[in-house]
Amino acid sequence: MTRCSRAAFFHRARLGWPVLAWLAAAPAALAGTPIEERAPADPAGQVEVSNTAGSVVITAWPRNEVEVTGTLGEGTERLEFSSSGKLTRVKVVLPRQSSRVAGTDLVLKVPAGSAVAVNTVSANVTATGVRGSQRLQSVSGYIHTEAAAEDVECKTVSGNVKVKGSGQPGMLTVTTVSGDADLSRVAGEVNGNTVSGSFVVASGDTSRSRLRSTSGDLGLRGRLTPDARVDLESISGNVRLDLEGPVGAEFDVSSFNGNIRNCFGPPPVRTSEYAPGRELRFREGAGTGRVRLKTLNGDISVCNK
């Protein structure tokens, strides 16, 4: 250390002592403020949660009230908690002028029949046992939830999405930009859209499935209902469809530049003598369902067990 920098170090250290003394004297001021809020709630009401960073954990319980616990992040202005009629609002309010704000961890217990709407930036979202509709959004945090018969919508930019279904038919919509999605035991209608994320869907009975990606891979495994409509489309990602049980559908499979591999039905044919495209059209069983698989460059695989 040179003489000059040594002097600067001691000068900074002298200035830092009061700060260190204050930190030692007031540890409680640094620790996150505990949250404890509770209010009666409609058993089929709506719960809205907004938290920028940290986490949001929602669990359903059999009581007709909403409870919020957790820790308010250092630098946060306050927690807004209000309940009126069917609507309960939980919002982490940030100060207008502050250089750094720590994340807030929210733990909510809500009536099982509640509809929940959560909006975060980097906070992770976890929901368990909620039977009402869910609208969960996060920019970069992950979303883990369970789907019952009501509609579930998950939306992220880079956060991953994991949805565990109950096998009951419902409507599930998942949109990500680069986040991956893992959807298991889902039934009914599944809509997925991503740019570069990979979507893996394991469904029970699939009646409507529409998955689209730009470069992410798409995979769907499940049984087709007699009137199923399955539509998987990717520009440069691979598409894979694994069917279980008896298959009764018309297949329309084509790729402009990729390969097609199928475990049943006729072999794919080239669309032109001079172009690389391949297509595969056939009818299997009763042919009442419709399956469309399309890619520009990605490979397509369709098989049944």
Binding site: E48, S99, K155, V157, T175, S178, S236, A275
Partner: protein, 196 residues
């Protein structure tokens, strides 16, 4: 042909035909005029393929430049107010070599892109970089399909994929707007001040 004509004996018709000259010399040389008419037609196929090729090259170059500029951009520090993002400008959207998507579509796209440029700094830097990379990926995909359409105009698969690619781009832009706007609580979320 009238009823009277049909009554005339066929002999007189033959005789009339016999009296006609076997060939007639043109009054002037018609070939130069015909040749002048044929000349542009022989050039037309070349021109027809030039435009799509030029458009495809333009799209690929524009897309590559956008990708390169987006990837080169440095992330802003988390704890400081991020500098304003440069306005996201898009090349006019085309649908194959000969079709444009129209001013209404372009206006909607530009409006969403401008609005996104104002909001994109509120995203955590890693999410912002991911978003920018993926928007570039969407534009690259559209350019690639457009280039393929130039080689195979009217291909239904390519047209469907391209239409969906444009729709996806708008959907992503709209989606990010929604994500950065909060959940209807009135205030927008600024993540640059958070310890993420």
């Amino acid at each position: 042909m009238t009823t009277d004509d049909r009554r005339e004996p066929p002999v007189s018709l033959d005789a009339a035909l016999e009296r006609l000259p076997r060939s007639i010399e043109p009054g002037r040389d018609l070939w130069p005029a015909i040749e002048a008419q044929l000349e542009p037609r022989s050039v037309r196929p070349v021109r027809r393929w030039l435009w799509p090729a030029a458009a495809a090259v333009l799209l690929v170059v524009a897309s590559s430049l956008i990708t390169a500029s987006l990837l080169r951009r440095e992330p802003a520090p988390v704890a400081r107010q991020a500098p304003a993002a440069p306005e996201l400008r898009y090349a006019t959207a085309s649908f194959g070599p000969d079709q444009r998507l129209g001013p209404a579509y372009d206006a909607a796209r530009q409006e969403l892109a401008q609005s996104l440029a104002q909001r994109i700094d509120r995203l955590p830097p890693p999410a912002r970089r991911q978003l920018e990379r993926n928007l570039a990926e969407l534009r690259r995909a559209s350019a690639e399909i457009n280039a393929a359409l130039a080689l195979k105009p009217g291909d239904p698969l390519l047209e469907e994929l391209l239409l969906n690619a444009y729709q996806d781009e708008l959907a992503v832009l709209a989606s990010v707007q929604q994500l950065t706007a909060g959940n209807g609580s009135g205030t927008t979320i600024d993540a640059t001040r958070m310890q993420l």
